[in-house]
């Protein structure tokens, strides 16, 4: 399967990437990151041009992500609003996503890319403003493309080594981000609610 995919890349490079990456935005099981790794390798071999590949990949990715966002806006908003009326926490989560969801959206695009389609949809459904989606989403898209094309270039031809490295690097960054975030939350200096003080002193 990998061999067959690899053999298509030098021949159909840009077109293949546009289509494959676009489809992957809808959570379809297309190995978009593998194709990017392969493309990076062929760029190193001089068979494909970086500008063409980067442009095509970005076009497919942006088109896919924004389509899913719009789907969320149209289809999800009503459902989310109805759920929100029933339950305060969901309404709060929805409001939070709409206000602060940008950074999580950014991370989901490249750090947890399998869930990116769902986050894009949820962002649309939560009513995240399109300009915010554009800004955070584009940043995440650029990071994702840069990581995989660069890795493919560096590991030219050794797809297995490249994907192992990518996996390790992403787990490392994800775990590090989680550690730092939790650490700040657990040990950071924050104003304690006076009631908390009273309760803990009495326990």
């Amino acid at each position: 399967m990998t061999e067959w995919l690899l053999s298509l890349v030098p021949t159909y490079g840009p077109v293949l990437l546009v289509v494959a990456i676009f489809l992957s935005c809808f959570a379809l099981p297309v190995p978009a990151s593998m194709l990017l790794l392969a493309a990076g390798g062929f760029i190193a071999a001089g068979d494909l041009q970086l500008v063409t590949i980067a442009g095509a990949s970005f076009a497919g990715l942006a088109a896919g992500d924004h389509s899913v966002y719009v789907m969320g806006r149209i289809g999800g908003t009503r459902l989310a609003a109805r759920l929100g009326r029933r339950s305060a926490p969901i309404a709060r989560a929805r409001a939070k996503l709409a206000e602060r969801g940008g950074f999580f959206l950014f991370l989901s695009r490249w750090l947890f890319s399998p869930i990116a389609p769902y986050v894009n949809f949820a962002a649309g459904a939560a009513g995240l403003r399109w300009l915010r989606f554009l800004a955070w989403g584009t940043a995440g898209e650029i990071v994702w493309l840069a990581i995989f094309i660069t890795l493919g270039y560096v590991f030219a031809g050794s797809l297995e080594a490249a994907s192992k490295f990518a996996f390790d690097a992403i787990v490392l960054i994800g775990a590090a981000v989680l550690t730092v975030a939790l650490g700040i939350w657990l040990f950071g200096h924050h104003k304690r609610h006076p009631l908390e003080d009273r309760l803990s002193r009495s326990s």
Partner: protein, 127 residues
């Protein structure tokens, strides 16, 4: 509050979050070390046996030779403008891909020999 106090407080009041924090920290350290070791000891693989999906560009990169020179010497088609994979060339010619490997390997050997001859100070011949 001292750091120690904060840690003790966190363990007391938020044990689950602490557990997750410790796990995340452990994973971070583990993968950091692993990545470091891989980076230090990874060597780009030397030239490997030809495969059907490869293009002459890939071969050129493996052997640090100009792909277009390999094409010329082996009598293989130049990209027009899309590059051909070795499998495609074989299919177009109606021959098994191993024949194409033979052509490519022969060209690579000749070009490498010429390079070595040049390195020995006999100057590059004009071929």
């Amino acid at each position: 509050m001292t750091i120690r106090d904060r840690i003790r407080q966190a363990m007391r009041e938020r044990p689950k979050a602490m557990a997750v924090f410790l796990l995340a920290a452990a994973i971070t350290v583990f993968f950091a070390v692993r990545l470091l070791l891989h980076a230090l000891f990874w060597e780009p693989p030397g030239p490997r046996p030809l495969e059907p999906w490869m293009t002459v560009g890939v071969v050129g990169r493996m052997y640090h030779l100009s792909p277009r020179e390999i094409d010329a010497r082996a009598g293989l088609p130049q990209p027009d403008p899309r590059p051909y994979t070795l499998a495609q060339i074989a299919e177009d010619r109606g021959v098994p891909v191993e024949d194409i490997y033979a052509l490519v390997n022969a060209a690579v050997a000749e070009l490498k020999a010429r390079e070595d001859a040049g390195d020995q100070g006999q100057g590059r011949d004009g071929r």
